[in-house]
């Protein structure tokens, strides 16, 4: 793979063709906030917190760094007034669902996000999809999936699969940015609402 030279926050660095800007930044120790990204999974581009400003051939635009591929001579800025403002609002929107998530709180402090800005809707889940995608892409089990659409979307364990597979795995739980209790709760609820045997 070709080496690609780019600049992030004033630092010149080398990365490989096909890498994302987020990967390139992380490899150079530059931190970009994110919630739906996990190295073992295909980049998702859902939380939009990793939004950065890129300048290419004199034109600059806002892009999401987890899915934006590195380019030769790309100039990346990971913070600006506008970027911070967008991150702050995204965090505030998510804090309405999970005000007590330590991960969210930490970022809220960095960006001055007010957890009470929007009316509370404590569904905990922020739809990052980490559990769903981990179960699909890494475990190839699809024991947990999304149901419905938009703001009505929820994660849901498939009882038939979950009853067989989840007790021995639970690898998705620590991935949950809002505390895995929610996932555990949904799981146990699914299991108790089915007549399937809990052990197979």
């Amino acid at each position: 793979m070709r080496d690609i030279l780019l600049q992030i926050d004033g630092t010149e660095l080398e990365s490989k063709e096909g890498m994302s800007v987020l990967q390139a930044a992380n490899s150079a120790g530059i931190d970009i906030p994110k919630l739906c990204h996990y190295d073992k999974l295909v980049p998702y581009g859902g939380c939009r917190l990793c939004i950065v400003d890129v300048e290419s051939k004199g034109i600059s635009k806002l892009v999401v760094s987890c899915v934006y591929p590195v380019e030769e001579n790309l100039i990346v800025r990971t913070r600006s007034e506008k970027i911070d403002r967008i991150r702050k609002t995204i965090l505030e929107l998510l804090l309405a669902h999970a005000p007590n998530s330590p991960e969210l709180q930490e970022m809220a402090q960095e960006y001055g996000a007010d957890k009470d800005r929007f009316d509370k809707d404590s569904s905990f889940c922020i739809h990052c999809g980490l559990c769903v995608r981990y179960c699909d892409e890494v475990k190839k089990l699809n024991a947990v999936g999304f149901i419905d659409r938009g703001s009505k979307k929820e994660i849901s364990f498939i009882p038939e699969i979950a009853a067989k597979e989840c007790r021995n795995c639970m690898e998705c739980f620590p991935l949950c940015p809002t505390s895995y209790l929610q996932a555990a709760f949904v799981l146990s609820e699914s299991l108790s609402s089915t007549n399937l045997p809990s052990k197979s």
Binding site: R48, R85, L93, H127, G150, S151
Partner: protein, 641 residues
């Protein structure tokens, strides 16, 4: 059926079809698109067949069931050929008279003709009706003259001659060049130059490439793609084959929403017929070019009209968009170069090949060439589908073609571009329609929806309505769209319910920035438009709602009160009897009074009060006058009343 092996054979076939047709033979065409089927066209068709049989004319008169003619306000429409006299709003009971009088005795039936509302003149010919007169029906016009279920009809009007042309010596590069020079832009919403999109795919190194028809039309009130696919599916197919040839694709998909059963049926029939004739399949017309087409029915999510979501759905997964930093013409369906254009865009392609790019670029504005089909709905006299050259002014479309606003009401705004478009006010009615022109006005072309609003429409409520639609249709993958539309909807709903607070406008603007800058796909990026454009042109309505709790359009239920003006009330008891919540205190010879606590603001009293009295009024932003005392409510008729 024997397959066509060369362009010459197709021309032979066409000659054969035409030689069997007598242009002087009487033929009745009846529009049978979904809209007119809903207004009884199917029964009219059955009656026509029966009546011709009864009068012994079955062999002498042809019936042709065509697609939509566009003038849906006055459908179903019958055109009698060869004189082309046009009858509107046909009911089954009219059929007998049409056959015995018009077909047999060559006499016109006056009551079925169009009457020009300005001059009271009867108009016999469709093309003279103002609704049609100012249109340029290049893409849509053939709908009225062919039976979409018969390939022979399409061939008879010159169909597939663009295919003949490309296989008679045009290289794929020639085709691409022609489309590029035509400056055709995507009719589905984005307005991306089709030629550039095609070129990207053609030049992509991957060998397998795809072409896709986006027929997932989902904008409320827009149905031009439906009408085209139902009424002239071969024109879309011909464009698709040409596109496939130009980029080197051997497989094409038609993604059509399953809520369009007639479109699904007609495109499937068209594909089968084209396959039987050898216009799709292996070695098309002896050219050595292979191409097949597969129809995929969408499961009904608005977001699947977005190109990447559509492709994800085609791949058999949940229809959610994916990042577009590498465009789908390079990495699209199954990661292969894929050209996706909408129905109308594809239908333009045969015209461009037949007539040339220079002909096409004669029409339109600097940045937008050719014509565009708009669906004219809302508070407009002539509801329907209209095709006009790009660059026609909004005023001409709304007044000359659309016939203006019904009921003597005042025009307020036209909402263009579908749910994420914007509202354009009266002082911009001379705006020429085009992609860039509409964008500069804070709206967009979208797929060509035009919803006309009058003085009774509250612009805050309009914004709320469209944001609600988008919130409901958001796929939920990215945070700004999923959470942002939800919060915007909540704030807008509060404002229309009189719970608006200082700072709401600012908060909405802030959310708008996050949505447009940070959303994953165009649905979220453009979702704030209904709010932003109404704020831009109608800010005073927002401020009145928030500060004075006043809805000047008298539309927001929570902000209005009903009041019976005592000096106008004639104690007729109509509203008293009709009120469903017993909120009207009155009786014979008693001036009526509304009990505000019981009133549910259902509008019934306002509707039923005889216009000669006009005693019920709506009040907003001001207190309701205190009711007259009970002992003064005796109604005494005086000479003034």
């Amino acid at each position: 059926m024997s397959q066509i092996n060369s362009p010459a054979e197709l021309e032979e076939l066409r000659k054969g079809i035409l030689s069997e047709r007598d242009p002087q033979k009487p033929c009745i065409t009846l529009c049978s698109g979904s809209a007119c089927n809903a207004s009884g066209s199917e029964e009219v068709g059955l009656n026509l067949e029966e009546e011709l049989k009864k009068q012994g004319l079955s062999d002498e008169v042809d019936i042709r069931k065509t697609g939509c003619h566009g003038f849906c306000e006055r459908g179903p429409i019958i055109i009698n050929h060869p004189d082309e006299s046009t009858y509107l709003q046909i009911e089954p009971k009219d059929v007998e008279e049409i056959i015995s009088k018009t077909i047999k005795e060559k006499q016109l039936i006056d009551r079925l003709l169009y009457i020009n509302p300005d001059s009271n003149e009867k108009i016999t010919n469709e093309s003279e009706i103002p609704f049609y007169k100012y249109q340029e029906r290049l893409v849509f016009g053939s709908n009225g003259s062919i039976d979409p279920k018969r390939i022979d009809d399409y061939l008879a009007i010159g169909g597939y001659s663009a295919l003949v042309k490309i296989f008679s010596g045009m290289t794929p590069e020639d085709v691409l060049d022609e489309v590029k020079r035509s400056k055709l832009r995507g009719r589905g919403g984005g307005g991306f130059p089709a030629g550039r999109k095609w070129e990207g795919s053609r030049n992509a190194p991957e060998k397998t490439k795809y072409v896709i028809v986006n027929a997932d039309e989902g904008d409320p009130g827009a149905y031009m793609d439906r009408a085209l696919l139902e009424g002239n599916p071969h024109s879309v197919l011909e464009g698709l084959i040409i596109g496939a040839y130009a980029i080197g694709a051997h497989e094409g998909y038609v993604y059509v929403r399953q809520e369009y059963p007639l479109a699904v049926e007609n495109i499937n029939i068209a594909i089968k017929q084209a396959e039987d004739q050898g216009l799709i399949g292996k070695n098309i017309m002896g050219s050595g070019f292979d191409f097949k087409v597969i129809v995929h029915q969408g499961a009904g999510a608005f977001v699947c009209g977005e190109s990447t979501a559509l492709m994800t759905a085609l791949e058999g997964r949940v229809g959610e968009p994916r990042p577009k930093y590498v465009r789908s013409n390079i990495k699209g369906l199954w990661n292969k170069p894929s050209v996706l254009n909408n129905v109308e865009t594809w239908a333009n392609v045969p015209l461009i090949i037949n007539n040339g790019a220079d002909w096409f670029t004669q029409m339109g504005t600097e940045g937008s060439k050719g014509t565009k089909i708009f669906s004219l709905v809302g508070k407009i006299t002539n509801t329907g589908l209209v095709e006009v050259p790009m660059g026609m002014t909004l005023r001409d479309i709304i007044y000359k073609i659309g016939g203006g606003i019904p009921g003597g009401k005042k025009f307020k705004a036209v909402q263009t571009g579908g749910p994420s478009g914007g509202c354009i006010p009266e002082d911009q009615l001379d705006l020429e329609v085009g992609f860039d022109e509409l964008a500069r006005a804070g709206s967009m072309m979208g797929s060509g929806g035009m919803i006309i609003m009058d003085e009774d429409n509250c612009m805050v409520d309009v914004a709320r309505y469209f944001i609600e639609f988008l919130c409901d249709e958001s796929c939920g993958k990215c945070v700004p769209c999923r959470e942002g539309t939800k919060q915007m909807l909540k704030i807008l709903t509060d404002i229309t319910e009189g719970k608006g607070k200082k700072g709401d406008i600012g908060l909405l603007e802030e959310l708008s920035e996050v949505l447009s800058e940070a959303s994953l796909c165009a649905l979220g990026q453009t979702a704030p438009n209904p709010f932003l454009s109404t704020l831009r042109y109608f800010r005073e309505e927002y401020e009145a709602h928030i500060n004075e709790k006043k809805c000047s359009a008298l539309s927001c239920k929570e902000l209005i009160s009903y009041y019976i003006e005592p000096d106008k009330c004639n104690a007729c008891t109509i509203c008293f009897k009709k009120c469903p919540s017993d909120a009207i205190i009155g009786g014979k010879k008693k001036i009526h009074v509304i009990d505000q606590d019981k009133c549910t603001k259902c509008d019934t009293c306002f509707e039923v009060c005889p216009s000669k009295f006009d005693a019920v009024s709506k009040i907003s932003g001001a207190p309701v006058p205190i009711s007259i005392p009970e002992d003064e409510r005796d109604f005494i008729k005086n000479s003034n009343q």
